[in-house]
């Protein structure tokens, strides 16, 4: 029971990360396309300025929680995905520096440099995170000791000797990029006014079709790459609520009336997509692509019972406090961002 509770809590934290940091990643990924001036790009930054760092903390907190609750999973996946994770770190550094350093100097050299850094790092991170999810769904070549090492690519097919990048994981990367770009566009639509607001809305409307097509393709591909998904849905038909959430969110972001509502539907969409994937491979958290018995499950990867219990005792009050800070900060910085200069 305790491993299952922690599995849900880690999934909740990852969903929190994807939804919260997702909109600032998405805003970064599209900001070079929706803005027409340095002043507008500054507005984009201001719309996430006070919250992006806190959103990224969800990644660290989720990582730390995963680390203590499922140590073998953390150890195996982090060393196995060594190269792409290091690149994620470099991108996170580039992105953090771009956001924080950009407004220190107002110059035609300094500002565009960091705008580009922010845009490129945000877009690549969205693709990397999607590809990472794709790797987890496809499974990795775990050995008897529960270890593996993936090269960046081999022959680009999800066969017995896959790389981090194959056609399937790239497809999921593209899906993640489109989903977060949509999420970011709806955030900017909600947080800005005037031309920028209108352009963000039109980006969101334009992205809706390709997002839908890639979502269909990725769903079909996932069923063929990971047979377990189909058997899970057959065995537990109630699990269909997760994809229904995603479909509901997908429809809601198109047809809802308000700007905030559209953004919230996008949150539902992301949560639905993520939980569908997690449900599809359950109880595996890192499946093997060669032999099911080698995969890591929530039971084989969980730490001992006492540690999981002790964790609950600090996690619940700690995350309650964290939620209070977040609510406070989001209320403090609520409303449309305006050009104050």
């Amino acid at each position: 029971m305790l491993p299952f509770i922690w599995f849900c809590l880690v999934a909740l934290m990852i969903a929190g990360y994807v939804i919260l940091d997702g909109f600032d990643l998405g805003a970064g990924a599209i900001h070079l396309f929706v803005t027409r001036s340095a002043a507008e790009r500054k507005l984009v930054l201001r719309s996430i300025g006070a919250v992006w760092d806190g959103n990224e903390v969800w990644l660290l907190a989720a990582g730390g929680t995963l680390y203590f609750a499922f140590p073998p999973l953390y150890a195996s996946s982090f060393s196995g995905f060594y190269l792409p994770l290091m690149m994620v770190l470099w991108l996170l550094i580039l992105r953090g520096v771009s956001i924080e350093f950009r407004n220190h100097i107002d110059s035609p050299i300094w500002t565009p440099l960091w705008d580009a850094g922010f845009g490129i790092s945000s877009a690549l991170l969205a693709i990397f995170f999607g590809a990472a999810l794709g790797n987890v769904i496809r499974g990795v070549p775990l050995d008897q000791a529960g270890e593996f090492f993936l090269p960046l690519w081999t022959d680009f097919t999800p066969g017995p000797r896959p790389g981090v990048l194959d056609w399937y994981t790239i497809l999921i990367g593209v899906l993640a990029f489109l989903a977060l770009a949509m999420h970011g566009a709806l955030w900017l639509n909600y947080k800005t006014e005037g031309d920028l607001n209108a352009r963000a809305r039109s980006v969101a409307r334009t992205l809706w079709w390709p997002l839908g097509l890639v979502m269909l393709a990725a769903t079909a591909a996932s069923f063929s790459v990971q047979p377990r998904i189909l058997s899970n849905f057959r065995e537990y038909p109630w699990g269909v609520v997760f994809p229904l959430l995603a479909v509901g969110g997908f429809a809601g972001m198109r047809w809802s009336k308000g700007e905030l509502q559209a953004f919230l539907w996008s949150c539902v969409f992301l949560a639905g997509m993520l939980t569908s994937a997690v449900f599809g491979v359950f109880p595996y958290v890192l499946p093997s692509n060669t032999s099911p018995t080698l995969g890591l499950t929530i039971y084989s990867a969980a730490t001992a019972e006492y540690g999981l219990k002790a964790g609950l005792a600090w996690w619940i009050p700690g995350m309650t406090l964290a939620a209070c800070y977040s609510v406070f900060v989001y209320r403090k910085f609520a409303g449309k961002v305006r050009d104050q200069a």
Partner: protein, 441 residues
């Protein structure tokens, strides 16, 4: 030494050494900013508010670099040290996860408020946001020190059937006797950095005849902070040293350069350890002092390195010895400088004493060197163990990550951090050039 292992060690050493240049200023400056804000709140002196605003700008740049260089540290436990993480993650993952949940959310939520919202917050609320940022940074420091303390002196654990290390007592982990001295010592080291940086900037303004009224505030607050912190630093260092004597006696012998067991052991001030001949070359010794500082007894026996088999020795005795001596030596110098400057301050002559102001200004890099040397002492002293007495460093690295891949990412980090370091210095220097009066209402 297996070459992949050497690269993994260098990888962590390089990234953590660079990273810790930033949090030490964050933690020290956070407290000093609270001091400035408190004076402003109590006296209504707006100059102190402007001084706090000036330091908040430097704090923000420093904090950002600390955050982006800190994320790789948590990742590297899994990427480069997977055997260690698999075995011990159930224990040290607790403190690392608590750092995220209890301190990073607090810090990241309120730093935005502290830096961007002074105009929309009441003076009391803005003061409170500075206190919360300080608390967040110090909580973060605690969880990291507690994690390291467990590797130095594991407590609160039991071994499972498969050899995995299980948490057995949460409070045993948090109340590790090693953690508390080390925590206080580390935080005081951070205050010394913050205080000397503040005093150095103040001295820079006074010598160059700019922003003199602020220069005087910075020198006054910096010197007072440096004096109190460096004295307490010595006291906590003594407490920490006795922990080392108790739990890691071989580390004590190596850091002191003591090869032969002696009653009434001397303290080596300088000298070069030669591990081939097992003696200290060109030593300058003070008789009996090592016995006294370790055991409070002039004649007590202190065990030398020759009492231990070589495979128990820290694997880099000379570097450990020098790190320790640099830390202690600089710590002593910090007390001397702060005491003389405080005396001159009390006599009302410090702001005209050019020589002392020059010394304060030029002292800026040394707290960074001392804090780095202190951490090198702790971590080299822990060798050859990753978890003291339980897991050798060689047994903890990731088995699937080759030297070639690790060198690739190490070079990548070296490149990225060089650029980040240059940008940091450039931006901070610009803020110093602008000075505290820029953008005043």
């Amino acid at each position: 030494m297996d070459s992949a292992l050497a690269v993994h060690r260098l990888h962590f050493a390089f990234t953590v050494t660079f990273h810790y240049l930033f949090p030490q200023l964050t933690m020290g400056l956070a407290l000093l900013i609270v001091v400035l804000k408190t004076v402003a709140l109590k006296t209504g002196d707006q100059q102190y508010n402007r001084a706090a605003r000036f330091w908040a700008k430097i704090f923000a740049i420093n904090f950002a670099v600390g955050v982006v260089t800190g994320i790789p540290m948590e990742f590297q436990f899994g990427t480069n040290w997977s055997r260690f993480s698999k075995a011990a993650g159930g224990v040290i993952g607790q403190t690392l996860a608590m750092e995220g949940v209890y301190s990073f959310f607090l810090e990241s939520s309120f730093i935005g408020l502290f830096i961007y919202s002074e105009k929309t917050l009441s003076p009391l609320a803005h003061w409170a946001s500075s206190v919360l940022v300080w608390m967040g940074s110090w909580l973060s420091g605690f969880f990291i020190v507690a994690t390291d303390a467990w590797m130095q002196h594991p407590t609160g654990y039991a071994l499972g059937p498969a050899g995995e290390i299980r948490l057995e007592s949460f409070w045993g982990l948090i109340l590790n006797p090693w953690a508390w001295w080390q925590y206080l010592h580390t935080m005081l080291g951070a205050i010394v950095t913050g205080a000397y940086v503040m005093a150095a900037v103040g001295a820079f303004y006074l010598i160059s005849n700019r922003h003199s009224s602020y220069g005087r505030i910075f020198v006054r607050v910096g010197v007072m902070g440096a004096l109190v912190a460096s004295l307490l630093l010595m006291a906590t260092g003594d407490g920490q040293g006795r922990n080392v004597a108790l739990y890691q006696p071989v580390t004590l012998a190596a850091s002191e350069g003591l090869f032969d067991t002696a009653q009434g052991a001397p303290l080596a001030i300088i000298g070069q350890p030669d591990t081939n001949t097992e003696r200290l070359d060109n030593p300058l010794l003070i008789p009996r002092v090592l016995s006294f500082v370790t055991y409070r007894n002039w004649a007590a026996e202190v065990k030398g390195l020759n009492q231990y088999p070589r495979d128990q020795w820290p694997d880099n005795v000379p570097l450990l010895y020098y790190s320790f001596h640099i830390m202690v030596g600089l710590g002593t110098v910090f007390i001397a400088i702060a005491a003389i400057c405080a005396l001159w301050l009390w006599r009302g002559r410090l702001f005209e004493a050019k020589a002392l102001l020059w010394i304060l200004m030029l002292s800026l890099p040394f707290p960074y060197i001392a804090n780095t040397a202190g951490w090198m002492t702790a971590e080299l002293g822990r060798q050859p163990w990753l978890i003291y007495g339980m897991m050798r460093t060689a047994a903890g690295a990731s088995p699937t990550v080759s030297a070639g891949n690790a060198v690739f990412t190490l070079l990548g980090f070296m490149g990225v951090y060089t650029v980040v370091g240059i940008l940091f210095i450039f931006l901070v220097y610009r803020e110093l050039e602008r000075g505290p009066e820029e953008g005043e209402a």
